[in-house]
């Protein structure tokens, strides 16, 4: 770290959004202080740093807070340009718009269908969630084809913005598969490109070092159900 450049991340180990921020920091090779928050007893620092939403993650750069995961990732990309690891967003304005579009889609559609599937109050709701998740995955299969253009990642040769955004969900889709005993997502039969992406992304060192422990996640899901 350059002298006097201080990065802190307020997070919760069980949050996919915090994981995204950690993936971005990891891929850009940035050092930071990680502060684990107790979400049932939020710290003064968290409440002060994110007075509007009171949520994690919050990135604090030299004392100044940045909130909302996608904004944090874009901030890191802009401040730590290409000199710190790869640029996560592409250079071309149209490609950037495409990356933002798919990141928004993942948050809008995939997230809501995952929530419906796992937290739905009725069997109908859960079934609807499964249907929507399935449809979202098919749409993302097309997205990976369009964005990667035959290369290994959404970002091309290297990991990019959409890879990080989708990557944050990996432990949760693995958890759902584990709890249901089936392969709901990233099914090589239905969405082969995404299944291959999952393997590749998951095997990267920078991803592995920040992924949460599966057993802890299983415990957490049992506690909250």
């Amino acid at each position: 770290m350059a002298g006097g450049d201080e990065l802190r991340l307020l997070g919760f180990w069980g949050s996919p959004f915090v994981l995204r921020a950690r993936l971005a920091l990891s891929f850009k090779g940035l050092s930071y202080e990680y502060v684990e928050e107790d979400l049932t007893n939020k710290s003064e620092l968290l409440l002060r740093s994110n007075p509007v939403h009171n949520k994690v993650p919050v990135l604090i750069h030299n004392g100044k807070p940045i909130c909302e995961t996608q904004i944090i990732v874009q901030y890191l990309d802009e401040v730590y340009g290409a000199s710190n690891g790869p640029s996560l967003l592409p250079v071309d304005p149209y490609d950037r718009a495409m990356a933002r579009f798919w990141a928004a889609y993942i948050d809008d559609k995939l997230l809501s269908s995952l929530m419906m599937m796992s937290r739905g109050k009725t069997e109908e709701e859960k079934a609807e969630g499964r249907k929507q998740s399935s449809a979202s995955m098919e749409t993302l299969e097309r997205a990976v084809k369009e964005c990667s253009k035959g290369k290994p990642f959404f970002g091309g040769d290297g990991v990019g913005y959409v890879d990080v955004v989708l990557g944050g969900f990996i432990p949760w889709v693995n958890l759902i598969d584990r709890l249901t005993g089936s392969r709901q997502f990233f099914d090589a039969g239905k969405t082969p490109l995404l299944a291959a992406w999952l393997e590749r992304f998951g095997s990267l060192h920078a991803a592995k070092v920040v992924m949460p422990d599966m057993e802890r996640l299983v415990e957490l899901s049992e506690m909250s159900s």
Binding site: P93, Y94, A97, F101
Partner: protein, 227 residues
């Protein structure tokens, strides 16, 4: 504007007259002095062009630049800023923290205003009262973000967060009438900001007058059978 598609920039906007999301794009295009062809869409009978340009969401607004579609209003704003950097920037160049702040407030507007506003005019009784309380909270938060002495959300320059919220100023009147409150009283800084925005030609030209928005909502209520 006729013939704009043939001009240098080749910009077209698929839009719907009263949409605040579409109006954001119109304001940005005018602020940047970019000519474009406005294409009004019939949302009850979506065009081939719209369905082809936004197959995932099938929604407006869609910006077409030399035929290539960009969807989602805030993404369109970013695209215009990045593809046309020399004209009236929406985001301050060279200040990543200020950019993050602008994006935060644009995102806040996106997450909160329209959805809460819709519940406010659609629902009755307790759920409506709940929506009114939430809307007041949202407006007070925005009022606080402006603070004292700031002309616009980012300071002296009209920017991303302002463009994101400006079209909704017309909807405040409807929220006030349905919700029984006054923005001027509850959030004087926000009300003053709204007046300043209304003075800009790009806003005056593109934002639907408040009375028309109110009539539009009344029309929707009739159609949905809401009293």
């Amino acid at each position: 504007m006729a013939g704009a598609a043939k001009s240098g920039h080749q910009l077209q906007l698929l839009d719907f007259w009263v949409s605040p999301f579409g109006q954001r794009c119109r304001i940005a295009l005018d602020e940047k002095g970019l000519p474009y062809e406005y294409l009004e869409q019939d949302l009850a009978n979506k065009s081939e062009l719209l369905l082809r340009s936004n197959p995932v969401h099938k929604k407006i607004p869609v910006l077409l630049h030399a035929g290539r579609p960009v969807c989602e209003s805030l993404i369109i704003l970013h695209y215009l800023d990045e593809a046309f950097p020399s004209s009236a920037p929406l985001l301050p160049a060279g200040d990543a923290y200020a950019r993050a702040q602008a994006r935060f407030w644009a995102d806040y507007v996106d997450k909160k205003v329209y959805e809460c506003g819709t519940r406010l005019w659609k629902l009755k009784g307790e759920p409506q009262a709940q929506a009114v309380a939430e809307m007041l909270d949202i407006l007070r938060t925005l009022d606080g973000a402006l603070g004292d002495g700031r002309e616009f959300f980012g300071g002296a320059a009209f920017g991303l967060a302002d463009v994101a919220l400006a079209p909704f100023t017309s909807w405040f009147h409807a929220y006030e009438r349905f919700g029984g409150f006054s923005v001027e009283e509850e959030c004087p800084r926000l009300a003053a900001w709204a007046k300043r925005c209304a003075q800009r030609p790009s806003v005056a030209k593109n934002v639907t007058p408040p009375e028309k928005v109110y009539d539009f909502i009344c029309g929707l209520k009739k159609r949905f059978g809401i009293e």
